[in-house]
Amino acid sequence: MDIVSVLQVSFAQLIGPSAIFYALLAIGLNLHYGYAGLLNFGQIGFALLGGYGVGIMTVTYDQPLWVGILVGLALAGLLALVLGIPTLRLRADYLAIATIAAAEILRLMFRSTASDSVTGSTRGLWGFADPFTSLSPFDSSRQYNLLGMRFYGDDLWAMVVGWTLVLLLCGLVYLLSHSPWGRVLEAVREDEDAARALGKNVFAYKMQALVLGGMIGGLGGIFNALQTKSINPDFYSTAQTFFAFGALILGGAGTVFGPVLGAMMFWFLLTLPDAFLRQAIAGPDPLLPLTEQQVGAMRYVLLGILIAVMMVFRPQGILGSKRKVQLDA
């Protein structure tokens, strides 16, 4: 068994573009759930609007890429407003229901044949990322070797841009969470009425958090569209939101770097057993009697077990504070 190659494949996922996408989703969710206590189960819907904003504006309407990016961000922010106005005055679970429904509705609308002329329905959209890749200093056709991890030039460029973005957003979250604004947000999470009694406009704070987190989710969608150079409606399925939630809980909700570390660990832990199992079934004398498809399913089982074990022994996530979690009881 080739342990080194297993580790190389796994570490490539640790810092790869997928980790960036889920890190962006999870940073947004962290603002919602970790700081403001809002349950957004439709984060992927915000990413969908971000991605399609880029795709539709550039492919369908022939606008420059930067217009698409701005439209994508604006649409994600608008979705937050539209969902927030009716639900933020209600209990947290209403927002959860509204967001999960909105994300599914959006996906179904964008993949429907009725919107084919704009969204490309199930075929999706592609061929819009050229202005992005043309900025790349790396050679698109070359594979670069990073400590034995192999990345194509375009992926490497996406990773440079993506991680820069993630770091900038971490800085933003750090500034916000260490400010009086963040203090009010946490107070809202703990007890809305107490915040109201002290003169804080709870609705406005929740709305600000929802819009900001949603726009960061939209940014995730934009990043994903540019990195994969295509948009497919069925990529934006509900499961993605829960992967992002998994990453957030794993890393530690309510911490600045928790969602980032969580997203990295999530992909690492997903790839590690996968790579091991693939090694174990390869060759003329396989260690395990499994087929390729079974390995694909098995890795989610193993990841599930890993996360479950983690939650038992470290319920606050990797970076969370145990004291805070215990105060819930």
């Binding site: 604004w181 009425d193 009694a197």
Partner: protein, 344 residues
């Protein structure tokens, strides 16, 4: 923040000595809705119903400035609902109320708070995952860093934050919580949470403080401590309204007492005159509380006791006829019995 409402600058505080307060209330009628010499809060025709139940039905009420007004009444009298209405946490069916002549109806809770009325809650709301210090700092008003854009420019609010922190430590010192400043509020004991909630409320520099059962579940030593803090508040010129059940506490610190029962104000009086007010005694103990039960040699009730027993039997019969269940204490039967018994 989109909401740009700015409270008026804090009006000058009137500080009254004990004699001044006594003199002030000497001329006040001891009737529900009596006019006060210098009311800060005036409530008119306030009504709130839950289904068919009139939770609050106050035709007129005035709260005297810079004094401690105790609000008492049996459970379900509508005290907390009145608090919720006055602070914007609940909406009345009808009615107006005003602070210093400025109407407060139809305002959101945070707008009421910004106008200088701060409240605490019957079930203490410590923000458990914030530190004790952050709990108190949260209370400060006009924080530049509480705007989202301002938050990103730390140099714009750092100076203010230092002042707020210093003020917060002063308050924590005063309430004996300074040593706990860096602990999570969730780790405090019940009594310490009450103190914290009060310190946090004071951080808003309120004109009126409304305390909903500040002594509930607090040990006697801490009760004395809390009482001292409430008196200090008044002596600083703050108007205090508080809900309390303990008559000794009421007698100790209130300058004036408002008694509520079944949603209405049934009596107003200075604390030492309370026990002689028949309406208060009735509301707390029931009209028959002092009536001895009389029985003849065979154990049958006689006199007034016999009438009472008949009334009970009638009510029971009525309930059974109406298909009620006597074993269910919440059913209409109890109401029927009660109403029958209330008749003198």
């Amino acid at each position: 923040m989109p909401d740009t409402t700015r409270p008026d600058p804090t009006p000058p505080r009137t500080v009254l000595g004990a004699d001044a307060r006594a003199a002030l209330f000497a001329g006040v009628d001891r009737t529900p809705g009596a006019a006060k010499p210098d009311p800060i809060l005036v409530v008119d025709d306030l009504c709130r119903t839950f289904g068919g139940l009139k939770a609050v039905d106050v035709s007129h009420l005035e709260i005297q400035r810079s004094c401690i007004t105790g609000l008492i009444g049996p459970n379900g009298a509508g005290k907390t609902t009145l608090f919720n209405l006055l602070t914007g946490f609940d909406r009345p069916d009808t009615g107006t109320w005003a602070m210093d002549g400025v109407p407060l109806g139809r305002l959101h809770p945070h707008q009421v708070a910004r106008r200088g009325i701060v409240r605490t809650f019957q079930l203490t709301k410590a923000l458990s995952k914030l530190t004790v210090l952050d709990n108190v700092r949260l209370g400060a008003r006009h924080q530049t860093g509480e705007r989202m854009v301002g938050a990103l420019l730390p140099w714009t609010w750092r100076h203010q934050e230092r002042e707020i922190t210093a003020h917060a430590y002063e308050l924590l010192d005063r309430f004996g919580l300074a040593a706990k400043a860096d602990d999570f509020a969730g780790s405090l004991s019940g009594g310490q949470r009450k103190l914290l909630e009060m310190a946090r409320a004071l951080m808003t520099e309120p004109t009126v403080v409304m305390l909903d059962e500040p002594m509930a579940g607090v040990n006697p030593a801490l009760t004395q401590n809390l009482l001292g803090h409430i008196k200090t508040l008044r002596d600083d010129g703050t108007t205090v309204v508080f809900v309390e059940h303990d008559m000794d506490v009421i007698r100790d610190i209130s300058d004036w007492v408002v008694v509520m029962a079944q949603g209405s104000v049934i009596a107003e009086a200075p604390p030492d005159a309370l026990s002689s007010d028949p309406a208060v005694v009735d509301a707390y103990l029931g009209s028959h509380h002092d009536q001895a039960l009389e029985f003849d040699d065979e154990g049958n009730p006689v006199g007034a006791t016999a009438e009472l027993a008949d009334a009970l039997a009638d009510a029971e019969a009525q309930t059974l006829e109406a298909g009620g269940d006597l074993s269910d204490p919440d059913a209409a039967s109890t109401d029927a019995t009660a109403t029958t018994l209330e008749k003198p």
